[in-house]
């Protein structure tokens, strides 16, 4: 499951260009999942070579042709097979969490600032998800967005209630000579 599968999936909603696929992914998954043009365009070209999508170029004045892709029958079968094969674990990487593990090495004010910044980021991302929610959206889309909302809310609540665990540390630490 990769960008190619994601493209096939979005195309199952209807024909779209690479540009439009990226916008749809942004709207649906919001801040917690994204795909760059640098991965989408090569993916669409590969899928075309494989016969999973077909492409129609639409001439536009003063712009590159808009290439609209459609799922072929073979692509639809490949998509269903890919989806059913889902088994990989979720991947989560957070530089912030790693930094928190070593909070003792930073001055307390720095730790507080990092947490404040992270809360701001999470709240903004929560806002983005809310802004993209439409009551008339398909249930699957609402399901995804609700998941993101729930997880972000949980993360924000946890940081607010437990930040003292890392903020207090440097004061008590013997290795506190590292302060800026």
């Amino acid at each position: 499951m990769d960008i190619k599968t994601l493209c096939l999936g979005v195309l199952s909603f209807g024909p779209a260009s690479g540009y439009e696929i990226k916008k749809q992914v942004e709207r649906i998954f919001g801040p917690f999942f994204d795909a760059s043009f640098g991965s989408i365009y090569p993916a669409l070209n590969a899928l075309t070579r494989e016969g999973a999508v077909s492409c129609t170029a639409q001439a536009q004045d003063k712009r590159p042709d808009k290439k609209v892709y459609s799922l072929t029958e073979s692509g639809r079968l490949k998509l269903v097979a890919d989806l059913a094969a889902t088994s990989a674990r979720d991947r989560f990487r957070s530089e912030f969490l790693v930094a928190m593990l070593f909070a003792e090495l930073l001055p307390p004010s720095r730790v507080s600032r990092l947490i404040d910044e992270r809360l701001t980021i999470y709240r903004r991302e929560l806002g983005e998800i809310a802004a993209n929610q439409r009551p008339d959206a398909p249930a699957a889309e609402r399901f995804i967005q609700g998941f993101g909302e729930t997880v972000y809310r949980a993360a924000i609540g946890y940081l607010e209630e437990n930040r003292h665990l890392v903020e207090g540390q440097a004061l008590l630490s013997k290795q506190n000579q590292a302060a800026e």
Copy 2:
């Protein structure tokens, strides 16, 4: 912030071998963050070349020498600088969520099975976190593990309460001919 920073950080707790670093990362971050030997060993070699760590080989009978790494002063400074520079967004990739977005294309029984499997995985990972928690652990470690616990719990709760949003879909869908 990458595997190199993570190695430096773990070494700030005391000298350790590559093998031991991996075990510590597993214990602290549990299932939601891991680093393979294939990334740790090269990272330690690079850090040695850079002078950020020093290495003492301990001969062992019938085994490769155990190479114990220690943070140098230069490495400690590099670590603090890396930690303070934290700014990258958290990265989260979930093949499961992508599959859920296209749940309509799968037979309902398949969707239910995928959700059940995911719940089993999340519950097991929650159990792993709990198993690694020690009341006497440093606050930072408890903070990380509490974060993981909170987020997993939120995810499990959400799936349990909202799975009907995607499980019912295929029945209502017109594109349901895709069923196995």
